[in-house]
């Protein structure tokens, strides 16, 4: 089988699986949409200067625990970095090329 045929087969398989797992795909897509909307807000707040979790929470209106969870996830996958402390809180900055 050549590369083109293989790619076609893979695409067809994914399409079939998406059909079979319709509910999962709908649920995860909704989750991703929500995740991206939150990340966009967080990145916007961090655009000009590093921020602490409570600062982001106040600016976005999101619960601080939720902001921390997303910042933690973004830090793990190198979308956000820590840049020192402000009082009892760490400061986080968006990595330049982060696109949500």
């Amino acid at each position: 089988m050549n590369g083109k045929e293989e790619a076609k087969k893979r695409t067809q398989l994914l399409k079939r699986l998406r059909e079979e797992h319709k509910d999962t795909v709908a649920r995860t897509q909704a989750l991703l949409k929500e995740q991206n909307a939150i990340r966009k807000q967080i990145c916007q707040v961090m655009r000009d200067a590093p921020k602490t979790v409570p600062e982001v929470a106040e600016a976005t209106g999101l619960p601080a625990s939720q902001v921390l969870w997303h910042v933690t996830a973004m830090k793990k996958y190198n979308l956000v970095v820590e840049t020192g402390m402000c009082g009892e809180y760490y400061l986080y900055r968006r990595v330049e090329e982060t696109k949500i």
């Binding site: 999962t24 995860t28 625990s65 902001v67 793990k76 820590e82 809180y89």
Partner: protein
């Protein structure tokens, strides 16, 4: 890769420290061992811990070599992401039907490079970090996982195909299906471990509701170098806590929860964590609210005395309730036993519940091995044969048999391996037919 049929001397069920050690002890004696672990990596609870009492050794540093030793031992067949579905007896031995769950990743091709994980767009709560950290729908389970092979969680997958596109060795395989495997074994060692008390078990403590009330397993992750925040921060808002309290017996010695027994490790792990916090946050105050401090092991009492000398505050009292103030600081309402049972309320930045050990797996239906009143595997003669179950040929090790620490889990692992070896030898001499042949066996019977 495992073949469809496997013939071994011993089947070890569970790849925590107890199961790994039993497998190694048997394999080192020349026995062929199959180790079946239901998760995608071996390591159990221990690999998630920060440092261990009483030595304060780095947990990863002592667990990871054991994990690799298991994976590379020529006498051990490691079967991760597998579950035993049925057991039947066969001429004095056992035949296990094992289900190999699909990883949707070709185990022979995956190099653990994690490019799939970085490409996956969706973040999910990571149970390894008690839900406070994130992982992707496809991921290597954790940084020191063994085997270093990705696993795809199809139940939370977008089926976008991005992982497949970036995999440099074309290991992602959406066509995988569950596989059946048959294991014939002369004996079985149960090492299925324990669970901790759910943090919301005692409603009056607010666990699961108050964001700054956590369980001790999460504190282990906060203290570990691979923890989700990289620092000890409280999950409510990321604040570095200045005042941390421990509530002991939060799930043990508690009739209201149906757990009358002592979990045996909570005093020691709380003292250990308090010491580690003092190192990580030198300015923080740590208070331990306790009923009794039980430091029964070798060197454990000294460990406790060292903690007191370091300035950790031990307060004898039973915590009645935990609420929070307007800044989500937990307020602990406690009866101070040494001060005429005066009831006070003290505010802290973070409260850690010293949750107890609960049975995790009931082997009765599958293995015909009964559990005791406490739910842990019953051992009919605990004084004489602490690893021998009610069913000949089936042995138990580690916390599957009851609450115990790592030292005792390792000890019972050796004991269970010895019992299994003795059983196999007796069986062998009873029937002159050898179950396994090979060079290693000569070592045993030489």
């Amino acid at each position: 890769m495992a073949s469809d049929k496997l013939r071994v001397d011993a089947l070890v069920v569970g790849g925590g420290i107890a199961g790994m050690q039993s497998a190694l002890d048997l394999a080192d004696q020349g026995y062929q061992v199959a180790l079946v672990e239901k998760e995608a990596s071996i390591g159990g609870k221990m690999i998630a811990l920060s440092k261990v009492f009483p030595t304060l050794d780095c947990c990863s540093c002592i667990t990871t070599p054991k994990m690799s030793a298991v994976a590379h031992h020529r006498n051990i067949h490691l079967l991760t992401y597998c579950e035993v579905q049925s057991i039947r007896e066969n001429g004095g031995g056992f035949v296990a039907q094992v289900l190999k769950k699909p990883r949707y990743v070709n185990e022979d091709l995956c190099t653990g490079c994690r490019q799939c994980e970085y490409a996956c767009p969706i973040d999910l709560p990571d149970p390894f970090d008690r839900g406070y950290g994130a992982h992707r729908a496809i991921r290597v389970p954790f940084s020191t996982a063994v085997p270093q092979i990705a696993v795809l969680d199809i139940e939370n997958c977008l089926l976008c195909g991005k992982c497949e596109q970036v995999c440099p060795v074309s290991a992602v395989d959406f066509t995988q299906t569950p596989q059946q495997l048959e294991i014939e074994a002369g004996s079985i060692v149960l090492a299925t471990g324990y669970e901790v008390t759910p943090r919301d078990a005692k409603k009056e403590y607010g666990g699961g509701k108050l964001p700054n009330v956590i369980d001790a397993l999460f504190m282990e992750r906060l203290l570990a170098p691979t923890g989700p925040y990289g620092h000890v921060l409280r999950p409510g808002d990321g604040k570095e806590p200045e005042s941390i309290a421990y509530v002991q017996c939060a799930g043990s010695r508690d009739q209201t929860l149906g757990v009358p027994y002592c979990s045996r490790v909570c005093c020691m792990y709380a003292i250990k964590q308090a010491m580690l916090i003092s190192g990580a946050l030198p300015l923080a105050d740590v208070t331990i609210y306790y009923m009794d401090i039980r430091t029964f092991g070798k060197g454990y009492e000294q460990f406790y005395q060292n903690a007191k000398a370091m300035g950790i505050e031990f307060v004898k009292g039973k915590v009645a309730r935990i609420t929070e103030d307007e800044n989500q600081n937990p307020i602990v309402r406690v009866e101070l036993i040494d001060e005429g049972s005066r009831v006070v309320e003290r505010t802290h930045d973070l409260v850690v519940l010293s949750v107890g050990m609960l049975p995790r797996y009931n082997p009765q239906p599958l293995y015909g091995v009964p559990v005791a009143d406490d739910g842990f595997v019953e051992v009919p003669s605990p004084n004489i044969s602490p690893c021998v179950t009610d069913r000949p040929g089936i042995f138990v090790t580690g916390t599957a048999a009851g609450p115990m620490d790592i030292v005792d889990s390792i000890m019972t692992a050796g004991a269970a391996a010895s019992e299994a070896a003795a059983y196999l030898r007796a069986r062998k001499s009873a029937s002159s037919v050898s179950t396994t042949t090979g060079k290693e066996r000569e070592l045993v019977y030489a």
